[in-house]
Subunit: 501 residues, 2 copies
């Protein structure tokens, strides 16, 4: 029995790794699209991506894979938790893949490449109508995908499953709802505590110094540049091409330190997770991040819980003053902290404070569900967007570029991705609370430049496990509680109301 | 009959294009290795390349491809020269591919990636012994490849065929021999005419201005940057990833204008050929360059015949003086020309004058043939290299970095590539002679910044045909003569003896 299992399992893993290798080629091509592709090369790139997606899909639905999975399931010995977890996830993927026609997979890959290109161009001229036909195509294809995957269940759950395995919106909704309830009063209190007197951070921060400072901080936090890169691109992202090759893209804006710095910190959180995965397990679920929500918990933790803390800036602010001199000469640590911890509703998600950020996500989740379910037409998106922002945040974007064209997710066919940011915020706060319980006063450690204890705690509790344990299980084990909205609400209250009042 | 042909031919082309698409993914990964790959990612990249090589090979040897080729051959209608040329070349590739075991193809791809990495590292510390075990592996694999391909014929011809379809060393040798005979007296005369008084071009040429000037010239010569890129890398090269995506890599050295500028010009010649191919025919031989020798004829023409001419610099030198001010303030056009047209044997191939360049190639061809045929062991390469340079050029390289580690071709498993440079020099001179016959005084056109007539002449005579006509046929049609050494010898005599004496 054991021998029968070993043989089938070994072959299964060889096949899983081959699929992952093809996928990693596609990822590298995707990184290149973001960073290097000449405008004239987009059509050919679409053909390349369609081919790779087809090759991957062909292997992912190979009936022999189904036989191997059945063979392994039937002969799995007791006490093999990693093998069991790999089997569970590989079976889930096989079942999903076999529901998708190859033509749809290829069409999605091709369309996503071209649609990203159209999105970039439309955003540049700040005009949604140029992008509308592409969004319409993407929505139609994603609906088709959701219908094929859902097998009669909820369409949205089918797409959520691309990022958050086995998640159901009906189970997430109460969590989001509880958070939403708490955000209203928090926002009012946070606004009152922040007051009117904003310290402006619109100063002269030259591009190359922003880049140097961000990279310096990334390395100090533990991102290994001999096993990765940091580049600028139209959209910040992190891609694990393979072991030893983790690529962050970010952006910088002249005269604005925060946009680029916090985008980079966010991606560094992703990068540390990726670099903390087991390289030997690459190509199997055990070597991959357990969910996008868990991934976002790492990025959002570095961006906010760590990167907006007093301890972090006690250590880094003197360095920032030197690097950017004379831009910050007149501003002391307290003033700088009050500027980066300010609550202020604005049109842009990635720039939002920690309270309003989740409202941006709730709006996107509502809109993408409506698009998918046909309650909203692609061409009506700008109006619906404006209405939602007016109602929920009391603001109206000046144009489409700071409205519904601001994010590239939908252009890249990433529907069902947005909830993972709020899941990430929830997990991040709960993990951070537990880390303070285990490691003592993190602010004091950070103030001395000691980030290793927290990173090692995360490596041990989260990163190294990959898919071998579920996100729910990892959160429960690390924090002692199932995931709830409470730690996040507590954190927001502490940082934005208590410490400001 | 016609319908039977059309059906089989259509399917054949679909398959050829799929193979080309996989190959173009591998090429993009290769470009990334040269420009962006973190050191830690080399092992994974080797696995990716092995996978793609295997996927490509699997398709290239598909017996159904053989059936389609036979079907097309049997039913090819009269008067279809492009289809006939495609069939001929696709059949040649099919026959070669079916002779190679997949394990060898994958081993070569994997080893070439790792060996390039080892070469870069060895070159950095200027120590051949670090690279020797890799060269030994590459040579063993290339010998295995040559044995499989040659089917009892000449081993070297088998590898030549990777770059120069249907070429035989026994036919090239007399051409190389005739050139070699002429080079001795030319070198003596050229040295005498150059004299001792070298004008130094070791001046302050900041990196970013070199880059800006090179890119400006590239665009002026017709290289389209919306359909391509120019980047810096460890080794200059040009890769046509696909239609609309032609990528040049080059390098620049501070204080040395010529290295970077002429490397860029060389690659621009390649790039213009690639951008002049028929994009609709991409993925079929008719959409590909007809041979590497023909490709090198374009690069060497731009680098030397055009790029070292008086007309070229009459136009560009005033601009260079402005861009690099004050570095060239004291140097007038005549002095500059005498510096860039100087004959001086040195250890580095890519930096060599037009006369000694071919001697560098002859040395490499001798050595790679000896390695392949087992007459020279990899570990003995540095000694053989020094001996050849001492005998043929009267110089001894200071270390391995300026000796046998200077070129990356062998590290990339490119054996049989070097002859294409001299083939390129021969073709370039003969084409240039014909262009002068057809277009009048090129120097006068260049002096007015008019490069379009020559580029269009090349587009018409060479670029647009791809593989649809053989290199021999294209040369004969464009020049009225079969390829010989005479035009090159005449050009070298004119430029380096007559005009200097």
């Amino acid at each position: 029995m054991e021998e029968r299992f070993e043989r089938a399992y070994r072959e299964l893993i060889v096949r899983a790794k081959e699929i992952a290798l093809i996928s990693s080629c596609a990822l590298l091509l995707g990184w290149d699209e973001e960073t290097n592709l000449p405008r004239g090369g987009a059509r050919h790139r679409g053909e390349q991506q369609a081919l790779l997606a087809g090759l991957e899909h062909y292997r992912a639905i190979d009936p022999h894979l189904g036989e191997l999975l059945a063979e392994c399931d039937a002969s799995l010995p007791e006490g093999r938790p990693i093998e069991a977890a790999n089997l569970k996830e590989l079976r889930r993927r096989y079942e999903r893949a076999t529901r998708l026609p190859r033509s749809l997979v290829e069409a999605l890959a091709r369309t996503a490449t071209l649609s990203q290109d159209a999105w970039l161009a439309a955003k540049e001229v700040r005009r949604f109508s140029d992008f509308a036909p592409w969004l319409e195509q993407v929505v139609a294809l994603k609906r088709e995908e959701a219908q094929a995957l859902s097998a009669g269940g909820e369409l949205y759950d089918a797409l959520l499953g691309n990022y958050e395995p086995n998640a159901r919106w009906s189970e997430l909704a109460p969590l989001f709802e509880a958070l939403d309830q708490a955000l209203g009063p928090l926002l009012s209190a946070g606004l009152a505590a922040s007051g009117q007197d904003a310290i402006s951070l619109q100063r002269n921060f030259p591009f190359d110094r922003q880049r140097a400072f961000s990279v310096e901080v990334a390395e100090r936090l533990g991102f290994n540049l001999s096993q990765g890169r940091i580049d600028t691109a139209a959209h910040p992202s992190t891609m694990l091409i393979g072991p030893g090759d983790c690529r962050i893209t970010t952006w910088f804006r002249k005269d604005d330190l925060l946009d680029g710095f916090y985008s980079t910190l966010h991606e560094v959180g992703h990068g540390l997770y990726d670099q903390g995965l087991d390289p030997e397990a690459f190509g199997t679920p055990a070597g991959e991040a357990a969910s996008l929500g868990l991934h976002e918990s790492q990025s959002r933790m570095f961006e906010n819980l760590i990167g907006r803390s007093r301890g972090f800036w006690t250590y880094f602010y003197p360095r920032a003053k030197t690097v950017f001199a004379p831009a910050l000469d007149d501003l002391q640590l307290d003033g700088f902290l009050s500027a980066i911890q300010r609550v202020a509703p604005g049109p842009i998600r990635f720039r939002a404070d920690e309270i309003t950020y989740n409202i941006h996500i709730l709006i996107r989740v509502e809109l993408e569900r409506a698009l998918l379910e046909g309650r909203l037409e692609a061409r009506d998106l700008p109006a619906a967007w404006r209405e939602a922002y007016r109602t929920r945040l009391g603001i109206v974007p000046a144009d489409d570029a700071e409205g519904c064209l601001q994010d590239g997710h939908w252009a890249s066919a990433m529907f069902g991705y947005f909830p993972t940011y709020t899941i990430g915020n929830l997990i991040a706060a709960q993990l951070y609370q537990a880390a303070r319980r285990d490691l003592g006063n993190l602010d004091q450690l950070f103030a001395k430049g000691e980030f290793v204890p927290l990173v090692e705690w995360l490596r041990d509790r989260i990163h190294r496990h990959g898919f071998a344990r579920t996100p729910a299980d990892l959160v429960q084990a690390a924090t002692g509680h199932p995931l709830s909205h409470e730690a996040l609400v507590l954190h927001l209250h502490e940082r934005y109301v208590l410490h400001r009042a």
